[in-house]
């Protein structure tokens, strides 16, 4: 087993860190207050060729693994950019994997290069208000009419839809009662997000104000058959393909933000003098921070193991889920301890940690709840009866 830092990972950390250093704490503080998509950050990553890190070389990508992408995303959140920075590029990193894997040559040529070059942004439209994590029950309909489909329905929690030209959308092409299996009958499309047929309602939310989350009302959106990815009815299977990588990336983002919080807390504990000594001299301050360091390191190891397995073509469902659970919880603990270490100042926005605490709730909740991960581990790893 080799735990040494690879030269490549060090290069990625350095280069990504330098881009992030252009976007300082003040930038994110202001983005958190006023909102507005971090277009400059997205552009900087596009110009550096980073958006195609996992996509094939033939279309302008770099063909690297999820391990390298995880290192990249972790570096972004750890810079203090948090989930605001990560979510601005997250969809680009792995979202179009179904196109890369299941798309035709023509589709790949048409869809991937503009995304990698940053000329187009895409959003990922799967979740619906009435189905939650029960993805096979999706109700958005896609009816075939000649050479196109007509899509109607609702989607919710669709990040970056306000700024996206494109969307990857999952919709039902066959009613569920006519399908032999519940996972069939859904089809995947990568198509233009035409505002004439799609109404976007931004959701005002707890954190990550800069990167919008939306409810989508789709009413008769025409989608050319040429925009369907893979076979009709097999969209759910294609989407599943990207789920483990997404959990791995989210896990890496969570530990990155946790480390940013821990760094701030440690610095403050060393500098803040009360009763004529740094507060960090007190074990009540030290111990929770030491615990957070260990939790974050452990979660990071699990994340890297999941990424390694994925990149080596091994089943990684349990690892990816465990990584996302451990990383989100470790990140959350680190963020809330960072606030508590700062005392009253931790509650002030100018000390940044309260923003981290609001943002770290995202990887705790999304893309899957911690409870459902526990259910998954209990059922699939331990062999206990399915509980839901």
């Amino acid at each position: 087993m080799d735990f040494s830092q690879s030269e490549e990972h060090t290069s990625i950390r350095d280069a990504v860190g330098k881009i992030c250093a252009q976007f300082d704490d003040h930038y994110w503080l202001e983005k958190d207050r006023a909102g507005g998509f971090p277009h400059e950050l997205h552009r900087a990553f596009a110009d550096g060729g980073w958006l195609g890190i996992c996509l094939p070389v033939a279309y302008g990508g770099s063909g690297m693994g999820i391990t390298e992408a995880a290192v990249m995303m972790q570096t972004i959140t750890a810079s203090g950019a948090g989930l605001s920075g990560a979510s601005a590029v997250h969809m680009n990193i792995f979202g179009l994997q179904p196109v890369a894997v299941f798309g035709t040559e023509e589709q790949k040529q048409r869809m991937l290069p503009p995304l990698i070059a940053g000329r187009e942004k895409a959003c990922f439209a799967v979740t619906e208000p009435n189905t939650g994590l029960n993805t096979t029950q999706l109700q958005t309909r896609a009816e075939r009419v000649g050479d196109h489909y007509v899509l109607s329905g609702e989607k919710v929690w669709i990040s970056t839809a306000q700024v996206a030209e494109k969307m990857l959308i999952l919709a039902r092409t066959t009613p569920q009662d006519q399908c032999s299996k519940p996972s069939l009958g859904l089809s995947l499309f990568y198509t233009s997000l035409d505002r004439k047929y799609v109404e976007l309602c931004e959701i005002d939310k707890m954190g990550r104000k800069a990167v919008d989350s939306n409810q989508l009302f789709i009413d008769g959106l025409p989608v050319p058959v040429a925009d369907r990815i893979g076979e009709e009815g097999r969209g759910f299977e294609y989407i599943l393909h990207g789920m483990n990588p997404e959990r791995i990336l989210i896990a890496a983002e969570a530990t990155g933000l946790g480390r940013a919080a821990l760094n701030r807390a440690t610095r403050y504990a060393n500098e803040r003098i009360v009763f004529n000594r740094p507060i960090g001299k007190n074990q009540a301050i030290q111990h929770p921070l030491a615990e957070s360091w260990m939790e974050l390191e452990a979660a990071d190891l699990m994340t890297m193991r999941a990424a390694w397995k994925y990149d080596h073509g091994e089943p990684c469902g349990a690892d990816a889920n465990a990584a996302k659970y451990l990383a989100a919880e470790a990140g959350f603990e680190a963020c809330q301890r960072a606030v508590m270490t700062h005392g009253g100042y931790g509650y002030a926005k100018e000390y940044h940690v309260e923003r981290y605490l609001r943002e770290i709730m995202i990887p705790r909740i999304a893309p899957i709840s911690p409870q459902l991960i526990l259910c998954y581990i209990a059922e699939k790893v331990l062999g206990l009866p399915k509980s839901y």
Binding site: E8, S11, I53
Partner: protein
């Protein structure tokens, strides 16, 4: 790369009169850039408990920022068609390969590591660089003016002396005139700026305001993996790198004493006049 290829093809073309203006030696303008692996400038340095030095265990290391500026300048000369090749060199432990990869990810064509675990001091580095330079025959060696770890500011000057080449230190502007075989350097000095013209081959050391270094792009990081990196030992070069200087003690700087708050401008003026005695 494109620019220099363009220049070569111009020279090769027998029908072009331009060949008269570009004698063979200038298209071979090779630039050597030494790069040092140092503690990252963002890291708060901690002195070892036994005062023998700075604690480098598990500390993030990076390329010396002044060397990044040197690499950037060399790359700009190459992109402008003035230089044909940029070679990065590092002297030190095996991990310096990372620093060389970074240089190659920025655009250097290849790397040379002079590998040793011995603590290297400026004179030893200058001797090693001389040995490499004699072998590589560059027209220009661009170094950072100093490394941010020891702040010695000696290697470039020593190398110039050992080579017997002209030197221009603390450059804020570098213009190479390949046809004249010279480089014109603007230097930042106490009294303002000074402009020197040196005959090539020459040594230039970079100051902070020479340029703003680029970031490595992901495609270039990938390309850097395939660029050649040669590793040689000081013994092969016949250079004795044993340190001549002994560090007696390393300590933290004295902590700053706390400031005072003044109630108003009048009190401030009074204190500046009577206590600090900085105004009359």
């Amino acid at each position: 790369m494109q620019a220099s290829d363009g220049l070569k093809s111009m020279v090769r073309s027998p029908t072009e009169r331009i060949i008269d203006f570009y004698p063979a030696k200038e298209i071979d303008l090779k630039i050597l850039v030494p790069v040092k692996r140092v503690i990252d400038y963002n890291i708060k340095v901690r002195v070892k408990a036994d005062n023998t030095g700075v604690d480098l265990a598990n500390v993030k290391m990076a390329m010396n920022p002044f060397d990044e500026i040197a690499i950037e300048e060399a790359l700009r000369l190459k992109e402008a068609g003035v230089a044909s090749e940029v070679v990065a060199i590092s002297c030190g432990v095996t991990a310096c390969q990372e620093t060389l990869r970074t240089a190659m990810a920025l655009g250097a064509d290849r790397g040379i590591l002079v590998e040793t675990d011995v603590e290297l001091q400026p004179l030893a580095v200058a001797k090693l660089l001389k040995a490499i330079a004699l072998n590589e025959s560059p027209q220009l060696i661009i170094l950072g003016k100093q490394a941010i770890d020891d702040d010695a500011n000696q290697t470039g000057q020593m190398l110039a002396a050992l080579m017997g080449w002209s030197q221009a230190t603390f450059a804020s502007k570098v213009v190479v005139d390949a046809s004249a075989g010279s480089v014109t350097v603007t230097r930042e000095v106490d009294g303002g700026s000074e402009t020197l013209t040196l005959t090539l081959p020459a040594i230039v050391t970079t100051d902070l305001r020479l340029n703003e270094p680029r970031y490595a792009t992901l495609p270039n990081i990938m390309k850097a993996k395939k660029k050649p990196l040669d590793v040689i030992k000081p013994e092969i070069l016949g250079i004795d790198v044993i340190p001549r200087l002994t560090t007696l003690k390393v300590t933290d700087p004295a902590p700053r004493s706390a400031g005072v708050k003044v109630a108003n401008v009048a009190e401030l003026i009074h204190k500046l006049k009577n206590e600090a005695k900085v105004i009359a």
